[in-house]
């Protein structure tokens, strides 16, 4: 079995204003795979990304990257490791320095990681070619480029140091759909060529489904379900996942429409965070926070091979959900939320 590339265990983060943004979140990424993190605003998905990159310091938990403890690392060693752990942020208009040309922006990242001037310039030209930014744009400033082109530059910058893991935080959310498709295709193409892993954070279910080998669903700072992508879409076990999927607008008939708003993360409900909006909540859901349990089901062995397109031996098949009903075996199959799959 392959060793995990990223092992984030029991991460928690409480902000100064008292909001527990991330509450005991664990995420594992294997080399070369794409793990999607999906959830609505305020679910802690972006904060989780920042904790993993150590752009924020976690209160508890640790992050191991490539077998090294990232959490205790400082100085040069941390910087060296960060070359392999890069970020594509949501909004390139604000993440690219407006006073540097796009070439300078990519060179800057390389110089930070110790490349000499000439090599950095050569590498930058190569990268801009690779992501499809026309040559004659290379001396332009960010405000002279469209959103799609800027996001290509941000990707080139992230890939410049040959990272093993790229965290994409809502990397295509700000783009028009026709341009978004170009960037998604580019991300997949680059992954096939270069073999890095993605941690793809997004609120857009269709996009996450399209890209991911495995998916982590978050709600109110916690992981509520985790599974291989294909299995999750075929058989969501947690009532929240099910409601989330059925909320995606489209032609399919009646849907599960959740009542109410997300509770404030500053004052989350006791027990299960989802119980206030859950259509199948029980009294006991208020008592204790449900622990993730394995989702049993017909497809656990037979169809998992087809879930992973690489056919690799990673643990992509494990399907877990944090719900009392799942724990008691009345989850996915008999849940009244079900839209009637036999």
């Amino acid at each position: 079995m392959t060793a995990p590339l990223l092992l984030a265990e029991h991460l928690s983060k409480r902000f100064d204003n008292g909001v527990l943004a991330v509450d005991d979140v664990s995420i594992t990424v294997y080399p070369g795979e794409t793990v999607g993190v999906v959830g609505e605003s305020g679910c802690g998905k972006s904060t989780t990304g920042k904790l993993i990159l150590r752009l924020l310091e976690a209160d508890t938990g640790y992050v191991a990257f490539d077998g090294m403890n990232l959490q205790t690392m400082i100085g040069r060693r941390l910087q060296h490791l960060r070359a392999q752990l890069q970020l594509v942020p949501q909004n390139p208009q604000t993440s690219l320095n407006p006073r540097l040309t796009i070439t300078e922006a990519v060179v800057f990242n390389l110089r930070t990681h110790g490349w000499d001037k000439k090599a950095a310039a050569r590498r930058t030209a190569e990268l801009l070619d690779m992501v499809g930014v026309p040559r004659d744009y290379s001396q332009r400033f960010p405000h002279e480029l469209s959103g799609g082109q800027l996001q290509r530059v941000a990707i080139a910058r992230a890939l410049s140091t040959n990272p093993k893991l790229v965290v994409c935080d809502e990397a295509v959310s700000a783009l028009d759909k026709s341009v978004q498709a170009q960037v998604l295709n580019l991300l997949v193409e680059l992954q096939r060529e270069l073999g890095m892993a993605y941690l793809f954070i997004s609120h857009d279910l269709a996009v996450v489904e399209h890209l991911s080998d495995r998916v982590v669903v978050m709600y109110l700072g916690r992981v509520v379900e985790e599974s291989s992508a294909a299995e999750l879409w075929r058989r969501p076990a947690h009532p929240y996942t099910e409601a989330l999927f059925s909320s995606v607008p489209g032609p399919q008939g009646r849907r599960v429409v959740l009542r109410g708003d997300l509770p404030s993360p500053a004052n989350p409900p006791s027990g299960c965070g989802f119980r206030t909006r859950c259509p199948v909540a029980m009294d006991r859901c208020a008592d204790a926070r449900p622990e993730p349990v394995a989702v049993r089901g017909e497809s656990s062995e037979s169809s998992d091979a087809s879930d992973s397109p690489d056919g690799s031996d990673r643990q992509g098949g494990s399907h877990q959900a944090a719900c009392l009903r799942v724990a008691e075996g009345s989850g996915a199959d008999r849940s009244p939320v079900g839209t009637g799959a036999p």
Binding site: G148, D176, S178, A181, V248, P251, V257, L262
Partner: protein, 372 residues
């Protein structure tokens, strides 16, 4: 329909509003057009000292009472400008051409004073950004009462607050009386959007113009708000002009879909027809760009290039031709007109004798579509 040049329907108000307080029958005459919205050859031009931007160039569409028309397009396509110019929300720097009629009232030639009676009353707008639209310093209730009093639906602030609570209940706020007294920042994004909808429906408009009203919302909240639109439309029988960039949203709510690109309509027809059997390569491209369960990874049908900036000039040519996999030589020097491709379904593309298949992963060759 015969169009009087300046047709007005004046009727004694109070006849429709069931909540009009008894006793004091309002006497003022009001302009209350009813019926279908008809937009013919609408053009919108922004003029600044530096340049002139033609955001919308000659589009026509209609919205029947009780029905939903979705204006679908990407940023800069002119969809919001079209919808908002119907209400004449732009000032003097903007030239609106063509004809916009609602029932038998010509909205574009109406004096501004009469137009103010129409806005918020016969035609109301739900904007996208609730946080930027609501006055942060005033309670929600007071902002609803303002509309009710402006259109003399109620004649006292107290009656207005009563009605405001009813409206907030109608849009699904769980504690409407508390919401009446709340300031915008005390409500969540979804609740603020509902408050905006409550303001828009306060005077039971005959036409609701919704400009990306769910785009800023989370998907579970969006589902609630889309449901709400459907329910209100059933209850109030109003027409709905819904502006969105989201193909899925269009699929869910549209009776008809009009697709915009670079300030023009490229396709127009029944929702199911347009979204399942698109006849314009841009529509097909837009549909293929959204991942579905069957799309192989990394094989999205991306449209090359990018949408033109608002008002970019393409005189005498198809604006989509530079990005189009089907483009013929003539597309570069001939502006295609909308032609019928099916019952009530038209497209502005000369390459579509047959239908353009929605292609996932690969671009079809043009010989799949025979010449008309």
């Amino acid at each position: 329909m015969t169009m009087t040049s300046f047709g007005r329907t004046r009727e004694v108000r109070g006849a429709r509003g069931a909540w009009a307080p008894g006793g004091k029958r309002p006497t003022a005459e009001r302009l209350e057009p009813e019926g279908a919205l008809k937009v013919t050859d609408l053009s919108v031009t922004f003029r600044t000292a530096a340049r002139t931007v033609e955001a919308v160039r000659g589009i026509s569409f209609g919205v029947e009472p009780g029905r939903t028309l979705v204006l679908l397009g990407e940023s800069g396509s002119g969809k919001s400008v079209s919808a908002r110019s119907i209400m004449r929300l732009y000032g003097d720097a903007v030239t609106v051409g063509g004809q916009v009629t609602f029932g038998d009232v010509d909205l574009l030639s109406l004096p501004e004073r009469d137009m103010q009676d129409v806005r918020g009353r016969a035609i109301a707008l739900v904007p996208q950004d609730a946080s930027g639209t609501l006055d942060p310093l005033r309670r929600i209730g007071s902002q609803i009462v303002e509309v009710l009093r402006r259109h003399r639906i109620v004649d006292s602030a107290a009656a207005g607050r009563e009605r405001a609570a009813e409206l907030l209940g109608q849009v699904g706020l769980s504690d409407p009386r508390r919401a009446v007294r709340a300031y915008p920042h005390e409500l969540s994004g979804g609740m603020r959007q509902r408050a905006l909808i409550a303001i828009a429906i306060a005077c039971s408009p005959r036409l609701l113009i919704a400009d990306e009203p769910t785009t800023a919302l989370d998907v579970t909240i969006q589902a609630q708000v889309l449901d709400l639109f459907g329910r209100l439309q059933e209850e109030l029988g109003m027409g709905l002009l819904f502006v969105t960039h989201d193909v899925g949203v269009a699929r869910q709510i549209a009776d008809r879909v009009a697709v915009m690109y670079a300030g023009r309509l490229v396709e127009d027809g029944p929702g199911v027809e347009v979204l399942d059997r698109p006849a314009h390569p841009y529509t097909a491209g837009l549909l293929g760009a959204v991942p579905t369960r069957d799309t192989p990874r990394g094989a999205l049908h991306a449209i090359p290039g990018q949408p033109p900036a608002a008002g970019a000039q393409t005189p005498g040519a198809c604006a989509f031709a530079p990005r189009c996999g089907y483009a013929l030589e003539e597309c570069g020097h001939e502006q295609p007109e909308l032609v019928a491709v099916g019952p009530g379904h038209s497209a502005a593309c000369p390459v579509m004798g047959g239908r353009v298949p929605v292609v996932v992963g690969q671009r079809p060759t043009t010989d799949e579509t025979g010449q008309p």
